[in-house]
């Protein structure tokens, strides 16, 4: 399932996939795969992404 919340949070900060990838220490393709729902990140990476985007785990990764 696509992670549109991650994509919109990134876009709200005017960050590119590459910029977010550099901030959390992964490749751009990994961020792309998470946004497309092709890859389930570990909790460690989820936390790094949340810190980089200033969001909580619930806001970005919790499915209702």
């Amino acid at each position: 399932m696509k992670n549109l919340r991650l994509k919109s949070a990134r876009a709200a900060l005017d960050m590119s996939q590459q910029q977010l990838a550099d901030a959390v220490g992964v490749s751009r393709q990994t961020i792309n795969a998470i946004e497309k729902g092709d890859y389930n990140p570990t909790i460690k990476l989820c936390l790094a992404i949340c810190k980089a985007l200033g969001k909580t785990l619930d806001e970005l990764f919790w499915e209702e």
Partner: protein, 176 residues
């Protein structure tokens, strides 16, 4: 062709010294941070899968090679046969890594690696062509060690082609 014990020992020593020097150079490059093979968690996982496919390809090819040698008789030198199997496994490993966007590490630049692959492929293919022209590839109907450069050239070229095709497909997908 039979060689003397001194010749064989000399060859063995040369291979060992060459391998040691190679390992030393690679270790130095890592220490100087010229080479940095850091992959992220998705890439590590994808490379693990690619490694698995490569391993089973190697097993299958070695079995097929051994079986063909038993049934057809000697059709290539043992080391050349093993190199063929290794090349097949590396093609599978490299292709799966490329398709899963896990071939290059976080620090590696695609252009640098592709240039390096092109140079190595051209160099090996040129030596392979020279060996073929000079009749050093097949002797008495047996594929000799002279074919290894050609095999390495084809291996590098295949990985290069897979990379370029994957890059073009990804670019087209991003544009859609």
């Amino acid at each position: 062709m039979e060689h003397s014990l001194g010749y064989n020992l000399g060859m063995l020593m040369a291979v060992l010294v060459g391998a040691l020097v190679g390992v030393g150079i690679v270790a130095l490059l890592f220490k100087l941070k010229v080479m940095d093979l850091t992959f992220d968690e998705r890439q590590e996982r994808a490379r693990g899968q690619a490694y698995k496919y490569g391993f089973w390809t190697l097993m299958t090819c070695l079995l097929l090679y051994g079986f063909s040698d038993m049934v057809l008789g000697r059709w290539c030198d043992v080391l050349t046969g093993v190199m063929l199997c290794v090349a097949a496994a590396l093609i599978v490993f490299g292709s799966v890594c490329i398709v899963k966007d896990a071939y290059l590490s976080l620090k590696e630049k695609p252009r640098t690696i592709m240039t390096l692959l092109t140079v190595i492929a051209l160099l090996n293919l040129s030596i392979g062509a020279m060996n073929l022209k000079n009749g050093r590839v097949v002797k008495d109907g047996v594929l000799t060690y002279g074919a290894v450069n050609g095999i390495c050239g084809v291996l590098m070229l295949t990985i290069l082609v897979v990379y370029v095709v994957n890059y073009l497909l990804a670019k087209r997908e991003a544009g859609e």
